[in-house]
Symmetry: D2
Subunit: 324 residues, 4 copies
């Protein structure tokens, strides 16, 4: 398989077409673009058959990318608009898999104590859960309310347990019909960091190259459809350097200071080689923008604010005390 170094279905399609010098569309891959306003853009890729799946190395399913410019500094109204866009896409994808009253489990991956990894837990805290109300106090809730539950299982490093094991256990006890996983991601491009929300109904399949043993969180492992909503919040130094090297050589070219070798460097993807160079000196850090606190805050608002399926108020979080 072609080494794409991007997980975005859209970018993979473009790379595949370029590599194979195709002008037309690829059999098994439908693409649709929508410009919502000057700051918000949606790209939808549908992998419809095995041929498309093999071409771009992604399972059959739906891949939606929402790009938001300048998310770090947007105002409340732009956050509202983005939340609405994300919510609509999410609702449509949910509707494609489950009926309106079927049970959903929201899983917020990540570590609440590591700012760039805290998106999942933060969103889960803002989700209005309804499963317990429907079960114990149905008189207090609209009869059309969908049972929603939500959990932040933590990360392997703080729990000692594979996340998928925790989720499997909960699924077996509570029998949801669909899972929505929310996660902070590492970006493979500077462009995308803190600008992109990716929604896919094929779950989370850890990249083959990363060398960790985490099992996938997907329909295959859990038996029910898994929608993954991911937002890149960190980037490796090697990615940053690779992206920036191109810009730097471009500048040298503009100034006629480049040469054949540099031109060739720019053509190819030097990520792996840069990574190899940085590793021995521990320069291949994972970094995040300085404004990460506001970024996570804004993204959390975008993902959580319109995804409130219930009609209960926050008071219920104080229901559960017991006595010494």
């Amino acid at each position: 398989m072609y080494n794409f170094r991007t997980d975005l279905a859209d970018e993979r399609r473009d790379l595949y077409k370029k590599a194979n010098k195709l002008d037309d569309s690829i059999d098994g891959i439908d693409v649709e673009n929508k410009q919502i306003n000057e700051n918000i853009k949606i790209t939808k890729v549908k992998v419809t058959n095995e041929n498309g799946s093999v071409a771009i190395g992604k399972p059959i399913g739906n891949y939606i990318t929402v790009d938001i410019k300048n998310i770090k500094i947007v105002d409340e109204s732009e956050i509202e608009k983005s939340a609405e866009v994300v919510s609509n896409e999410l609702k449509e994808l949910i509707g494609a898999h489950v009926q309106s009253k079927e049970d959903i489990l929201v899983v917020g991956l990540g570590n609440i104590y590591v700012t760039p990894d805290a998106l999942g837990p933060k969103v889960v805290n803002d989700i209005e859960v309804t499963r317990h109300i429907i079960k114990y106090l149905p008189q207090y809730i609209d009869e059309n309310a969908r049972p929603v539950s939500a959990i932040s299982p933590g990360v392997l490093g703080t729990t000692g347990i594979e996340t998928v094991e925790i989720v499997e256990g909960i699924v077996e006890k509570t029998h949801p019909k669909l899972i929505i996983v929310i996660d902070s991601l590492a970006s493979r491009s500077v462009e995308r960091i803190s600008k992109t929300i990716q929604i896919a109904d094929t779950g989370i399949v850890p990249g083959a190259g990363v060398g960790n043993t985490r099992k996938e969180i997907s329909e295959k492992s859990l038996g029910i459809p898994v929608i993954a909503l991911g937002i890149p919040t960190v980037v490796e130094s090697a990615v940053l350097v690779n992206d920036c090297l191109d810009l730097f050589i471009e500048k040298l070219q503009d100034e006629a200071k480049s040469n054949d070798y540099l031109n060739k460097l720019k053509e190819q993807d030097n990520y792996e080689e840069i990574k190899e160079a940085l590793l021995p000196k521990e320069y291949n850090m994972i970094v995040t923008p300085k404004e990460i606190d506001d970024l996570i805050e804004n993204m959390s608002k975008i993902v959580a604010s319109r995804n409130k399926y219930g009609c209960i108020n926050k008071m219920n979080r104080y229901l559960t005390i017991h006595f010494i």
Copy 2:
């Protein structure tokens, strides 16, 4: 059964003896007191047979209470000492139930976003988990290390799922041999708020009077021993008023301003009647001391600092990223 209005085994024994005008010890109940230093005191109650169990209305098992004076303002060395005391008691109780290399799951109950309820999640964050290291990277860990995992499952109000269901699911997937539950509690006495740590190996059995439907977290429901470590961080107004009313009447008595009725009031427990009086005007709030942030911080240090069973560093919490 006598209405004890305290969960502390020690206090129940005293009340039982008083009510039954007993001078000697009760069959089936052993008590031991240790004064560690001028600020720290331990009380150990062992319920050894059915007679003891019936007398004080608690299951057969061990009940340890550690009292720390002035926990709000203690300095680091006193926190260290308290941590050592709690750790020793906890280790002894663990040793009574499982072998040194058997698997332990730590469960931090509570809501990280509600300060007086955040103790459990905070402690879990400081536990050094080892289960995944032993499983995936055994070469990096002492061969005698015990597998420890830890989870903060959240509360019913934010997850929509009974905590015991989540824990059951995880137990079935990961097969620990012992569970340690850490929880913030509501106190039934002003005395105890932010002063007492209670450790028992009989799990958490929600009080019958509270009227909620939460299932117990105990060996009965989970099939493995459950040690519960609880710290009172909140108190009902009615408890506060009941306790303070006694002091107030005492003062009136001292000043010879009391009367028969007041004297009788002081003799009896007016908690239920006070609660009934406060409820209609919503005066029966759950309150917590103003210094709750420092209190939780100190208690979290006491519980977490000596309970590190492993030898791994914090780096492992950054192991788990994946890519977009």
Copy 3:
């Protein structure tokens, strides 16, 4: 002077009238009530002359109280409405003292690390300051923008400096024309805790009875008008017990279990005596509702959201880095 045990001008007026058996209005005191909707109520008291000032023991000036029912559990739209009400009252009071382009300094009192005391610092963080933009980058801001600056000076216990000294120093350097002080307060009534916002243009004058030496933050000490916006977030045990004792005796009266002495107890204010009774056993704690995190969050939104005088975005908080 009559011992009012309330700082609310409105309640003092009622007590004064009752004590002096007055039916009519008091010379020097004007009162106005407005019910905004079923949850929000405004009371405005104007002390217009020395007679009114002496009667209720408050300086000549304006005293506005906004009462919001159920602030702990209100939804976003009610928060929006409350914010608008508070903002309008605040604007009117500001307009009575300074011109539209005159410089305002916002001072957030309190300690960001003590949840019930964090309101001031939290609000200051959300204020959009403009002074530096007008000074250094006037081209980026509307020419009618008012210079606003804001500071959280901390508390005596964490700075070692009287707050008024810090504010005086800043006033002398930056020459604002008006100060707005925002503060969490101790409530003298359970009713008011987390329900009331008090706005006055007479500054903050620490209560004579509290026995601390803090100097007042007022026009007298600073030479410019000081508007104080205060929200009760904590309460003393003695206040709670005093208020609850009345309810309890009322219940006993209803049940015909009361007696002359209790009836008399209910008539009088027992706060001082209760406090005296509680102090020796350290029962006179300062407590706060368990839901304090959400309460502060909601109040902070109410106070901050409509008081944005500027037009700058949050980006400017990242402008100031320097290099090693």
Copy 4:
């Protein structure tokens, strides 16, 4: 002046010697190195006269650099050791400027709500202030205690006021004899990020090249000596790319794939050119390591834990409430 692109006096001396092909020491510059243990190293540079000052472009004074390897993952004992080292250096420098009972003001620069910028405010929160105890309750404090006060003035973007104006105002009101400024810094080298603590008694003089108008915080502006303690927590993309480019070309050289132009690139400092290339596409972000939360936590412990000049407990932070 030579364009050093480093503020570290030690590195500037090396660069100056290299540029001027000097083998011996420079007149006016004394250097001393100490390796404390395998992880901790101290470098002390003393600029003693005008010649030394001109040579490396730094004011006459003391410059101490403490390097700590692997600060992100160090354990508690290493943090303790580092705290001791920093504390000793700081004490020595303080002793060189003021008597043992003279008044010190600690100023924590930065924004508590922006994680990589929160070091200053976090440290200030842990400083044990004594000034108010000595002033109001001298009986509760050792008679040799030094008056210490501390403030987190915020940043220009959230206050609208130049930090130096706030500090000037406080200095004029409280008359300290020495100021200690604590700040997060931007690093000019990947090597140093989260590894280096820099202490200098020449205050903070914002770099000429940064183009902001902030006035310096120094003896010149404030009239009393200013010790600055700075820790790099963020880095510009351009710095990262410049540092990494060298490593990358080195690798190409090793593989005999380099050429004259690349060799030359490696020789020179390409920071400015890289920055120019990145700016148009907004790739010149300020980034911080993913582990920034732990990093700030550890650094805050190192700086605060041994710098407690007083003997008071934390209780005093609850002294200051007043009533509504």
